[in-house]
Symmetry: C2
Subunit: 415 residues, 2 copies
């Protein structure tokens, strides 16, 4: 058993019922070989009329499940009736066998739910490159899952797709959108192989609003950019990253179908809030994490430039190991800023740890106070701001520290 993250919440949050959503979980046996008795697969059923959108890993070695979701979103025109996700095996780099597993699973869903194949979505997370024992390994449990469908048991679902996660991750939001109250609920998993510029590990958000697939797609991309694309644990991008939203259209509000509808901005805001909540839970459960670190870069040539500088700081092993040891080694922040190659006004470069100015005007702050800086980095929640003195570009990224436990977890993952 992994030691729980120090940021683990006392309990799983209360998540609302989303009308039009039913769920079931089961143990297929992915973890039985390791002596663990736990659920490892879930089924979501959506009412007819549910729309969907998704963003996926930018990896060129993406999993078969990711490939299918992309294909189904196009072929099914953004309609959704089912989602089946397993943990324990990512079905990535499994060659033709990966597609065979998907075909068998999809056939089972179509037979059990009577849903069109292109409205059925798949996800998988776990070891890369290991073929399943037989193509119908997941499909064979779909009838049982279908027979157990009931009102959403969010906690059971959030637990079923955990891998190295030390706590289940859920988030909700109730938003006024137009004249109605809309409910949002989301679940996510992820702890390692987490890097920006992708979707995330696996995260699914559900709402009772009505929106066209095109509108959902735009809203989801905006929400993702400020949440899952703003976190990194270890700079490694997964082959399975998937973020999807499902909108059942079961509340009273008419469908949102245009970006100039004032409800569109409200939708983006609500989605962003849920996605950011889930994304920060992933960072706080980063493998071996003992510190939650927020990196603000300001004064960059552009927002994109600020993001690249922030990413080089957030991914620097030297910055992360120093913070793990309560070492206010701000010189490594200078180093990481410099290695980005982005424009920097060296004689105006300034750095703050919390409220403590550690560097000002291209050198150590005149009233530099090592004790004050050490006090900041000794807290579990650390805020670092870097102003590079060039322009108005800014970005905020979130990461965690690099500890012995990360080395342990990732040396033992397959065993």
């Amino acid at each position: 058993m992994l030691k729980p993250s120090p940021f683990a919440p006392a309990q799983f949050p209360e998540l609302p019922v989303i009308a039009g959503v039913r769920t079931a979980t089961a143990s297929r046996g992915f973890y039985a070989a390791r002596g663990l008795d736990r659920d490892d697969v879930f089924l979501f059923e959506f009412a007819p009329g549910t729309t969907t959108a998704g963003v996926f890993t930018m990896s060129t070695t993406a999993s078969a499940d990711v490939a299918w979701c992309r294909e189904a979103l196009l072929a099914g025109q953004g309609q959704a009736r089912a989602l089946v996700v397993n943990s324990g095996n990512s079905n990535a780099f499994t060659g033709p066998k990966g597609k065979e597993k998907n075909d068998a699973t999809l056939a089972a869903i179509v037979a059990s739910l009577g849903a069109p194949k292109t409205q059925c979505f798949l996800g998988a997370t776990g070891v890369i490159g290991e073929p399943l024992p037989d193509p119908n390994y997941v499909g064979s449990i779909v009838p049982q899952l279908q027979s157990q469908l009931a009102a959403p048991d969010w906690l059971a679902c959030a637990k079923a797709f955990m891998t190295t996660d030390t706590y289940p991750k859920g988030a909700s939001h109730s938003a006024s959108i137009g004249n109605t109250t809309a409910q949002f609920a989301g679940i996510a998993k992820g702890s390692g192989m987490i890097a920006p510029n992708m979707a995330t590990m696996l995260a699914y958000v559900f709402t009772d609003i009505a929106a066209t697939p095109a509108i959902l797609d735009v809203a989801l991309r905006q929400a993702c950019n400020a949440s899952f694309n703003a976190i990194t644990v270890d700079s490694d991008t997964s082959t399975s990253d998937s973020l999807m939203v499902f909108a059942t259209g079961q509340n009273a509000s008419p469908e949102i179908s245009a970006q100039d509808d004032p409800r569109f901005a409200e939708l983006v805001q609500a989605l962003t809030q849920v996605c950011l909540d889930l994304a920060l839970q992933i960072v706080k459960d980063g493998e071996g994490a003992t510190k939650f670190i927020t990196i603000d870069v300001t004064g960059a040539e552009s927002d994109a430039s600020a993001r690249m500088i922030a990413a080089d700081i957030a991914n620097s092993p030297l910055v992360k190991t120093a913070l793990a040891a309560n070492d206010a080694n701000w010189g490594r922040v200078v180093m990481a800023t410099g290695k980005s190659g982005q424009p920097v006004a060296l004689d105006r470069l300034s750095i703050w740890f919390g409220d403590v100015a550690v560097a000002q005007g291209g050198a150590r702050a005149q009233d530099y106070d090592e004790d004050a800086a050490t006090a900041v980095v000794s807290q579990p929640d650390i805020h670092i701001r870097v102003d590079v003195g060039v322009g108005a570009g800014r970005a905020t990224l979130y990461t965690c520290d690099l500890t012995h436990a990360y080395v342990d977890i990732n040396g033992a993952y397959r065993t």
Copy 2:
């Protein structure tokens, strides 16, 4: 004391006398505050007529010493009379105080050796952002160094600029260049904050050939690309990286002044051999390293593309932690290949650990043998080859694993 790298050589190699080179080392006191009695500064004196060239960190927050070397190379037209390097403080991000230290040190060298200022070069390595106690801290010891100048004591010099290195690094080569035998000797330091696309930490190569500064510059860049630019320990690029070559012109061969001189290729080959020897010593002394890992990428769209894929594999914390634990987790090599975003023919992607094919044609090898793969990664010296099936591009990079000791060393560095 750091535990020595398992790759530490039994003894420092024999290095030849280079006519026209004298050296001295001393303890200035950078380490005395930490209770260590050791040398931490060296002086090299070169005979009149010595030419030089250098490549330096691409960091935008480069140290004051790097800035001076760039300036002096231009202003002094590639002539060299002296080199003073200290460890314990990198003089990076020290603002105007960084330049004051350089000015005082240079004034002391000019006074002691009677050399023109622009023919005097500086280097520094250690903590970033900490100003020296006084501007003349290094300069004040130059007269003592000058009085001790003698035939090169390579081992003393190699020891004097170590930081987290666990062994001193030297390399030599005797090459037939034209009708004469030329001698090459080099020393280097570096263990962490090591990443490709730069020069290196600090490395200096000395030879008795005669070559114009322009020829040395071209030859050094070619040698660097195949050596120091092909290694990574932790993906972090230093603010102080410097690689310089000094050619005293004291052997019998006339000056090399053109690239179509057949001796130019011989010079590049000899320089590359010394630089690669030193670069691999740095990787093998990578902070906490227990494995030396060679990554060959073939079949890429271009050599540049192959290098980017190899860098993402070499810098992946998940690949490095798996290999530290003797885990043949080749799925993470697939992941790192994919995250590069470089063109990959997924259905032709193949991976070998040593001679063991672990992936072939976009899936696990048909005759995959976990025990055989585990045997390969349980060795201290691991060779990984990835063929991405697109074109003829290829690259070789060298790295080490990521262990508990890396976390320890970098949490304790400043204390």
